[in-house]
């Protein structure tokens, strides 16, 4: 849920990076954290666990400046992608205002991408929301691997699997190198703020 503080003139929105295990959700957040100025970002919170997988969530608060006199604050969350952490994913989605679906370009992850998108729809439904209502952006990550010998999926194939009707804006990205990371963030921030503002008639 968005929080609108009329006394401080602040709007707080929650954006969740969703996707299969090891697709690069935390990498997106780390790149944003390193690239943003200190004034615009808060402290990044990661819950230390063994190995490089996210077991609970990561959180990065950002200050995106003013729209219509309101300070826009966005909190970016990631979920653990591995299938077994279903209940954690569900709890991080509580009160979500926007979703970035990070898809993995590796050929071996084709079904994992599709499963994860279906899992997102199911979990949103449990919070009384749906993919038709919540703003979403799709990011095809790890595009830098296309030129390597590792088998990857083509953009057409990924679109066919995840965004066949072109319902959501999508971006090619390489989160490790920072390609497409800010394009994704900019688009989801725009859509999320618009969605929240429209809902509460802050804008027409």
């Amino acid at each position: 849920m968005a929080l609108i503080d009329l006394s401080k003139k602040e709007v707080h929105c929650k954006v969740v990076y969703y996707g299969p295990g090891r697709c690069g959700k935390t990498t997106n957040l780390i790149y944003i954290y390193n690239a943003m100025s200190d004034a615009a970002k808060g402290k990044m919170l990661t819950i230390e666990t063994k190995g490089d997988r996210t077991l609970f969530f990561d959180l990065l608060p950002l200050n995106l400046g003013k729209i219509g006199g309101f300070d826009i604050r966005i909190q970016l969350y990631t979920v653990p992608g591995q299938t077994i952490y279903a209940s954690t994913r569900k709890l991080v989605l509580k009160g979500v205002d926007g979703v970035v679906f990070v898809a993995d370009s590796l050929k071996v992850r084709k079904t994992k991408n599709i499963e994860s998108l279906q899992d997102l729809a199911v979990n949103l439904k449990e919070h009384g929301k749906s993919l038709d209502e919540i703003p979403m952006v799709i990011q095809y990550n790890k595009r830098d691997l296309v030129s390597s010998p590792i088998p990857t999926l083509s953009i057409e194939e990924m679109k066919r699997d995840l965004n066949p009707h072109n319902k959501w804006p999508d971006f090619e990205a390489s989160a490790v190198k920072g390609v497409g990371v800010f394009e994704t963030l900019r688009e989801i921030s725009k859509l999320t703020v618009k969605y929240v503002a429209k809902k509460h008639l802050l804008i027409k």
Partner: protein
């Protein structure tokens, strides 16, 4: 869980509750958050030194995690959590389904007083937030 729009009047009433009931009783920092991890109000001089955004997110996650423990033993939910530290301790209380009140206090205040004051404040806050 619906969106919450805070008007200045509502927020002032919430802050007054926190100040008059909890800070006045000797609890040094009080934070009201929702179960998605958003901060609604904070009070107390020690709040400046605390990363409240992380505290709010972790509190929401902590409640969600312990509610799974509750289910294992046949309870639906735990309504309060308490963590004791060497110097400071922290008390979490659920307010209705969607809000959590966090109180941080030191040895100068007993847990009994905290629980009593939190229970009193919870009733008023519940009315304000509904």
């Amino acid at each position: 869980m619906g969106d919450l729009v805070l008007t200045t009047a509502k927020l002032d009433a919430i802050r007054a509750q926190l100040e008059n009931n909890l800070i006045a009783a000797g609890i040094h920092s009080v934070l009201l958050v929702d179960s998605a991890g958003n901060i609604i109000a904070s009070c107390g001089e020690h709040m400046q030194g605390i990363d409240i955004i992380s505290l709010a997110a972790l509190t929401a996650a902590n409640f969600a995690a312990t509610s799974q423990i509750a289910r294992i033993i046949g309870e639906e939910d735990f309504s309060l959590l308490f963590h004791k530290g060497k110097k400071d301790s922290i008390h979490f209380a659920k307010i209705g389904q969607d809000y959590i009140l966090i109180s941080i206090f030191n040895d100068n205040v007993s847990l009994g007083v905290v629980r009593l004051k939190v229970t009193e404040a919870s009733q008023h806050l519940r009315e304000l937030l509904n």
